[in-house]
Amino acid sequence: MGTGLIFTKHEKIRPVPIFIRKLAAGALFVALVSTAALLLARRAPGDYTDTLRAARVSSDTIERERRRLYLDRSLPDLSLIWLSGLARLDLGTSYRFDRPVRSLLVERAPRTFALVGAALVLAFAAGIVWGTSLARGPRLIRAPLSALASLSLAMPSIVVLFALLLVATRTGWLGAGDQSIVIPLLGIAALVVPAAAALARMHAQALDEALVQPWAIASAARGVPQRQLVWKRGMRVAATRVASIAPLVAANVIGASLLVEVVTGWAGLGRLTLDALVARDVFLVAGCTATVSAAVALLAILSDAVVVLLDPRIAAHEIQPGMISGGAR
């Protein structure tokens, strides 16, 4: 893959146009995914005006309402209305909340991003320390740490959350603090556990492989202290691998955050998406999907950028086209 020790002769690196191309691919991805969600929500049996009909609103009013909400349009028309709006970041109006979709998203999305972002930052920090100890820590703690990693990796966030809630109610911690602060913190912890374990495993494996490379052996022979080798030079190489699987971990955390949000009562994107889907709120469904897909697309691009920055041997054009840079590098 051109990542050998000898620098391969490759084209002049032009990262900027490549990342612009990646951004364009990401935009296309967001457009496709959100339009697909829009059409699915529109094709779903029942629509918003059913509730009006049930409330015995006159058929004239319903007809007017359908026209206002674009419910009388054909599917291709609807897609065009959505896509042209998306280009201008005008995401239409939510039927259920009777508010512009954009203002709803601006209100709710940051809450989800705060939850997921905090969980990811903590997971990375914990994963790297955990992974380093797994690979090069004192022999005595490696086995328990490894067992803990296998266990944590298999535990879904929702199970961890219930376990934490159980411990919190038993020990009385929950009563000690403000519940509206403690419960979301438990939610973050629940998201961190499986993600940190996954990152720890990946980091340990990458570090194990990096530290037997000739450069590492040569450095050790020259007298570079083991600590520096593990925490500085090896870290940089292993971080490349960890960065390349980061989007996968992030996608898992975003998926798990859906249920965590509902259980902890955190009014974020997950709850909003669910409400939109159940209410057949077509534009809100598309808006939520666009936000989630834009977030994962941006994370994928960010991870590619980090990989290129960390490892100058990997030129930007070598990264697989598409959203994911693959965990197999």
Binding site: G46, I158, V159, F162, L248, L258, L259, V262, M323
Partner: protein, 343 residues
């Protein structure tokens, strides 16, 4: 060893999936009057017999129960079509995991839910790997269109959170459906969502295997394309498919739990781990009736068993696959070399 433990546990879960609530002394649907929120009944040894004492409601408002030690419920194994049963003459219910809001046996419901929650995840995963093997084979044998489709959908799916995709697809169907229809719909959805990841892996293995000597020899001996694929090449993917299956099941189980929790999965009174957890998702309930968290424990055990059985825990599909018997590339194994370098 961990792998063997995982496989054993997975086998037991498969048995549980087939037996359903027949492992419990009561049926999952039966409601016992005056037993709402009853705590688990401890089993005691009385000589050689295993017995329990019936619970009597002590305080209706405080929902407290007391053991009535003057009476005993004797356990009868393997009788009346149940693994654990009580004597037919015994009027008192045996509630080993306690009772839920409606006075239903939590053990029976957790076991009965295995049939639905685990059943739909297993069926969906089987469908996904069958479709994945089929499309992977088609992609590898030269159809450029399918090839592009496989790679593109696997890439997109690997990036998006699966739960969101399944939720959006499920919401496009009627919101209220009969349990059987939910089962079929979810299994099909899981198949649709799961195949691209499997197909990409199968395609990769087939493309590599095709270049090996044995495949060329088969071709030289006059094997048709179909025979080459089915008899010679596809068996090489079996290890990958088993691993993929073991990885998909916990993922889809979690999707089912999420959907049922959100009210888009199996409807009441069908027992499902997701709907049961919904009943428990309240700090008061967790504090007063922790036995309601039994489905969370069931999910944890299932997920752990399948992760252990899959061997090296993986994040998602498309992971590097080493065919059995192949020697890992590269020089010495990390462990031996690392101990050398640290000296």
């Amino acid at each position: 060893m961990a792998r063997r433990a995982g496989l054993t546990l997975a086998g037991l879960l498969a048995l549980l999936m087939m037996l359903g609530d027949r492992v419990a002394p009561n049926s999952a649907a039966e409601q016992f009057a005056d037993r709402a929120w009853a705590p688990p009944m401890p089993l005691r040894l009385d000589g050689a017999a295993v017995i329990a004492h019936p619970l009597r409601m002590h305080d209706r408002l405080g929902r407290t129960f007391r053991e009535d030690t003057s009476q005993r419920i004797e356990i009868d194994w393997f009788s009346r079509g149940r693994l654990i049963a009580t004597r037919a003459s015994d009027p008192e219910p045996l509630l080993l995991f306690g009772a839920d809001t409606l006075g239903r046996d939590v053990l029976a419901r957790v076991a009965g839910a295995a049939r639905w929650s685990l059943g739909v995840a297993v069926t969906g995963s089987l469908l996904a790997i069958a479709l994945g093997a089929l499309f992977g084979a088609i992609a590898a044998s030269g159809s450029r269109l399918v090839d592009r489709l496989v790679v593109a959908s696997a890439t997109a799916l690997a990036t998006l959170p699966i739960v969101y995709i399944v939720l959006t697809l499920r919401a496009a169907l009627p919101l209220v459906m009969a349990p059987r229809d939910v089962f079929i719909a979810l299994a099909l959805l899981f198949g649709i969502v799961g195949w691209p990841l499997t197909a990409r892996g199968v395609r990769g293995i087939l493309m590599r295997e095709r270049a090996l000597d044995y495949a060329q020899a088969a071709r030289a001996a006059g094997a048709s394309r179909l025979r080459l694929m089915t008899v010679h090449l596809l068996p090489a993917t079996s290890g990958f498919l088993v691993t993929q299956f073991l990885i998909l099941v916990p993922g889809f189980l979690l999707s089912e739990v999420t959907l049922s929790f959100l009210g888009l999965g199996f409807p009441e009174p069908t027992p499902s781990w997701g709907t049961m957890l919904q009943d428990a998702s309240n700090v008061r309930v967790i504090a007063d009736a922790p036995w309601m968290l039994a489905p969370a424990a069931a999910i944890a055990v299932t997920s752990l068993a399948l992760h252990l059985a899959a061997g090296r825990p993986l994040l998602s599909g498309g992971a590097p696959y080493t065919p059995p018997g192949s020697v890992a590339r590269g020089a010495p194994s990390p462990r031996s070399a690392s101990s050398r370098s640290s000296r």
